[in-house]
């Protein structure tokens, strides 16, 4: 029942092999995904919301936007909208609830490295984001007549997946600030206005000039510029600039979150 104590040092920690560490990370991510999949109240709205909105605005509501291809344009922006959600909710709300329920405390006194916890949440966000993009792409090609070559689509997918990282960091910060259900309110308070004001629901040119100018403060707008550029809906996009801004936001939110968590 007990380990032979002769193999255990009197002082200091126990080491784990790389294989054991890898198994720990995989296990943590696997159970995080399993736990979420068994929560339909989270999965279904997260996956369905962007697709339903896309179909409504891109397909059902008629209208022509100059020489833009509406269904392709909105595929890019609803793609951004769809991947931000699971990142913000998964990190912000998920962590806030784990904190409130004491699960995070239990994991912090367990030998689990905190990195494994974050890794699991990022894996979950990426998986959900990939599902959202696939669903949107199917809707776009079947109902919206969107045609994209494989390479272009893969570039869009990659941009959207990497683009979740600043929002994971933002969620982490929110999750470190508030506990439990309060995080739902805060995430919605940021998520929905940011999406509208970054032109994710309707293109920015329908808004007043001031809002168009202010859009540059939102990380979501920068990700949308990348996605629209890849989808060929806007020309001469300064990809490195928007990429750098997103990286900067990631560093900023990560820094704020770590600073906040260290202060405890």
């Amino acid at each position: 029942m007990t380990r032979n104590t002769a193999t255990v040092p009197a002082v200091g920690g126990l080491s784990m092999t790389w294989a054991q560490q890898a198994r720990l990370f995989a296990c943590e991510a696997g159970y995080e995904i399993l736990r979420t999949l068994r929560t339909p109240a989270f999965v279904i709205p997260t996956l369905a919301f962007p697709v339903v909105f896309y179909l409504l605005f891109a397909v059902l509501i008629p209208g022509q936007w100059g020489n833009l291809h509406k269904a392709s344009y909105l595929l890019a922006t609803y793609g951004v909208f769809g991947v931000i959600g699971p990142a913000l909710f998964g990190f912000g709300v998920g962590m806030a609830i784990d904190r409130e329920q004491g699960l995070l405390e239990l994991k912090r006194v367990s030998p689990m490295p905190m990195l494994a916890y974050f890794f699991a949440r990022i894996a979950m966000s990426l998986l959900t984001a990939a599902c959202v993009v696939v669903l949107l792409s199917v809707a776009a090609s079947v109902f919206g007549g969107v045609r994209m070559d494989m390479l272009q689509w893969l570039r869009l997918l990659l941009a959207l997946l990497l683009g979740t990282l600043p929002f994971c960091a933002m969620g982490l910060w929110i999750g470190s600030l508030v506990k439990g259900q309060a995080a739902v309110g805060i995430v919605n308070l940021i998520y929905l206005p940011m999406s509208v004001l970054s032109g994710l629901w309707m293109p920015l040119f329908v808004f007043p000039t001031l809002i168009q100018k202010l859009a540059a403060v939102w990380p979501a707008w920068h990700l949308a510029q990348l996605a629209l550029g890849i989808a060929g809906q806007i020309q001469n996009v300064n990809m490195p600039l928007h990429g750098a801004v997103l990286l900067g936001y990631t560093a900023l939110f990560l820094g704020l979150a770590l600073w906040r968590m260290r202060g405890r």
């Binding site: 002082v11 200091g12 920690g13 784990m16 006194v109 030998p111």
Partner: protein, 297 residues
Amino acid sequence: MSASLPIASLRQVHKRYGAVTALDGMELDLRRGELLAMLGSNGAGKTTALGVLTGRLCADAGEVKLFGADPKDAAVRRRIGVMLQEARLPDTLRVQELVHQFSCYYPQPRPLQETLALAGLSALARRAYGALSGGQQRRVQFALAICGCPELVFVDEPTSGLDVEARRAFWQVIQCLRDAGTSIVLTTHYLEEADALADRVVLIANGRVLAEDTPAGLKARARSARIRCVTQLSLTELLSIPGVQSAEAQGSCRSLRCDDSDQVLRRLLARDPSVSGIEIRPLSLEDAFLTLTGEAA
């Protein structure tokens, strides 16, 4: 040789939350193979002491050692298991999944079936956590504390909220674990629990260790009682009654502390038949401890 060395210790540890002092120069040694009960009322500092020992909280001052190292180091925490006072696990995961997940955190975990059997969960292995009763959920949390085959297990108020039967079942599991050589630290505010399980009991109050004793010594102290009554006898007369340890005036009442309240009451009635308003209460744990430590605090 290592039996005499503490496996964990607190030296002059202080911890404050704003204006509240949770630990005020706490001193504690945990010895290998013993079951130590930390006894104290709510807010005495037990949970904070465990938090500091398990790396969840940072001490403001003082030295905290776990197996000679800093409990903030995850590699050291591979030698311990912790059951917190309050932790809600994901409702949608099954019992065996939760135990497997936590087993992955350890280099040499206990076989899954063995953990489940030890915690009395074999029949519930495939049940979702959210579908379990409160007592069953506590057993899962206990399983997570022991799944890594740790040398030292911390359990914070393991039986609060459990019914008598569940509490006895839990005690049996703790005893099994201890007989297998695991060192255990248990916090409780039930004297009965400390008595049933512990090799050594420390009384914690106001963030400090007030006293320590064996359960037998503790029991002897806890037999004492306090009698309050209205009597015509003076304090000196009361003190002369055999068995009365102390007497004091509380308004019109007199308060007596004694070992055997039945004996003292008979003698009291014999000397003053007009005695009225008699009230007998067992000594509080703190009082009981302080009786023998000579009002140190």
